[in-house]
């Protein structure tokens, strides 16, 4: 039901966004929060859907949130986090900069100074796309590793329009990609890191492959990707957890935490799991403190229902050349 409701959100936003983008920013953000609140008032059972989800989250985490308050705050955020950075197009540079409060920038600088690249350990919490926006605006050498984000600003679309060895194009991955295609993307990602750049990778990607690990997040046991762990271990890049929360007034709190290293041996069987759990643990702390920024985490369906990645595709066999050489 949540997935269907998100489709309705998309349609509604397609109608209102062209108008909102021409209006004063604060008004547009307020309007979006009102739309979110109206969902609860107008749509049958929506209030109970939100309250059940928040109450369930509180129970699983052992938190004593005010369920009613958190539900309403979450609803107010729902349209706002979906519009990502779309309302920042065509606004003055200085004005955009003033919308961000940044903490831990010294951690970011220290991680970059290590010279081995930075795995920006991101997530789907709060206004996660906005950390990308801020990093580009401030001239940081950033690439995004993951599914290509949709519904983003023209500014971000332009930043992503880079080709070549260190370009963005090869770093967008699809869940339907075959082994060779995925290998190419991961190899590109390793090149980006070895060039000392920042690679944004989400730590909360549910995934099914031979290297995925089972972990508990927000009280749910799911299978998660270990790609960020592997890339950090292979390249020696610093891992920098980062979070971006949206305030009620449409401003953003961007927080960089101290970076850490993943040892080379973390790639060995079974060891990546601890690092995945560490990353998820840091994210879970944020959800505990700011449940209204949890977006759709409380609405995750069980692992039996969510989109699973098909097995890595294998090409049909055709012998390349005859060879008598073999190595045991």
């Amino acid at each position: 039901m949540w997935q269907r409701w998100m489709i309705v959100h998309k349609v509604v936003l397609q109608v209102v966004l062209p108008v909102l983008s021409r209006l004063p920013y604060r008004f547009s953000q307020w309007f979006l929060s009102v739309m979110g609140r109206l969902d609860l008032l107008v749509v049958p059972h929506q209030t109970s859907l939100y309250e059940r989800a928040v109450a369930d989250g509180a129970r699983r985490l052992g938190c004593s949130w005010n369920v009613r308050e958190v539900s309403r705050a979450l609803a107010r955020q729902t349209y706002r986090w979906r519009i990502r950075d779309l309302l920042l197009d065509d606004r003055p540079e200085a004005w955009v900069a003033a919308q961000f409060r940044v903490s831990g920038r010294d951690h970011l600088e220290a991680a970059l100074a290590g010279g081995k690249g930075v795995v920006l350990l991101a997530n789907h919490f709060g206004s996660h796309v906005l950390m990308t926006h801020w990093l580009f605006r401030n001239g940081y050498p950033l690439r995004w590793f993951g599914e290509k984000p949709r519904n983003i600003s023209r500014y971000l679309t332009q930043q992503f329009a880079t080709d070549g060895e260190l370009g963005q194009a090869e770093l967008f991955v699809s869940r339907k990609a075959g082994t060779a295609e995925l290998a190419s993307s991961i190899y590109h990602a390793s090149r980006v890191l070895r060039a000392g750049m920042i690679l944004k990778v989400a730590c909360d990607v549910r995934w099914q492959d031979a290297k995925a690990v089972t972990a508990t997040f927000l009280g749910h046991t799911e299978s998660f990707s270990t790609t960020w762990v592997t890339m950090a271990a292979m390249t020696g890049a610093a891992v920098l957890p980062a979070f971006c929360r949206m305030g009620e007034d449409g401003t953003f709190d961007l927080e960089f935490l101290p970076s850490f290293q993943v040892p080379t041996e973390a790639r060995r069987d079974g060891q990546a799991a601890d690092w995945v759990r560490r990353g998820l643990g840091v994210l879970e702390s944020q959800v505990r403190s700011y449940p209204e920024q949890s977006n759709d985490y409380f609405f995750w369906e069980s692992s039996g229902d969510h989109e699973k990645r098909p097995p890595e595709l294998k090409a049909p066999h055709s012998p390349k050349r005859q060879s008598t050489m073999a190595v045991r």
Binding site: T179, A180, Y187, E312, K314, H317, K320, M325, V327
Partner: protein, 85 residues
């Protein structure tokens, strides 16, 4: 470097990165995925190990084309030939 020696180096790189291939016969015709059961990360790890071993850099566009052990051999042969020239 002779073909046999290069195959040995590549096989060693595969075995170093992918423990389950330790007792698998590796030939130039071995398919990386279907025969050696390498996944995308394994392929990248082997590629990087070979780059470090031979001090070469593989063309990023070529990684997508790696299907057989012989593809890795061809890449290394080309790159080693260029670096010797």
């Amino acid at each position: 470097m002779g073909e046999a020696k290069l195959l040995e180096e590549i096989a060693n790189a595969i075995r170093a990165e992918v423990e389950r291939t330790k007792n698998v016969i590796i030939t130039a015709d071995s398919r990386l995925v279907e025969d050696l059961d390498l996944d995308s990360i394994d392929i990248v790890a082997v590629t990087i190990r070979l780059e470090d071993r031979f001090h070469v850099t593989i063309d990023v566009q070529k990684v997508k084309e790696l299907r057989y052990v012989s593809d890795l051999m061809d890449q290394m042969t080309n790159l080693l030939g260029k670096s010797a020239a």
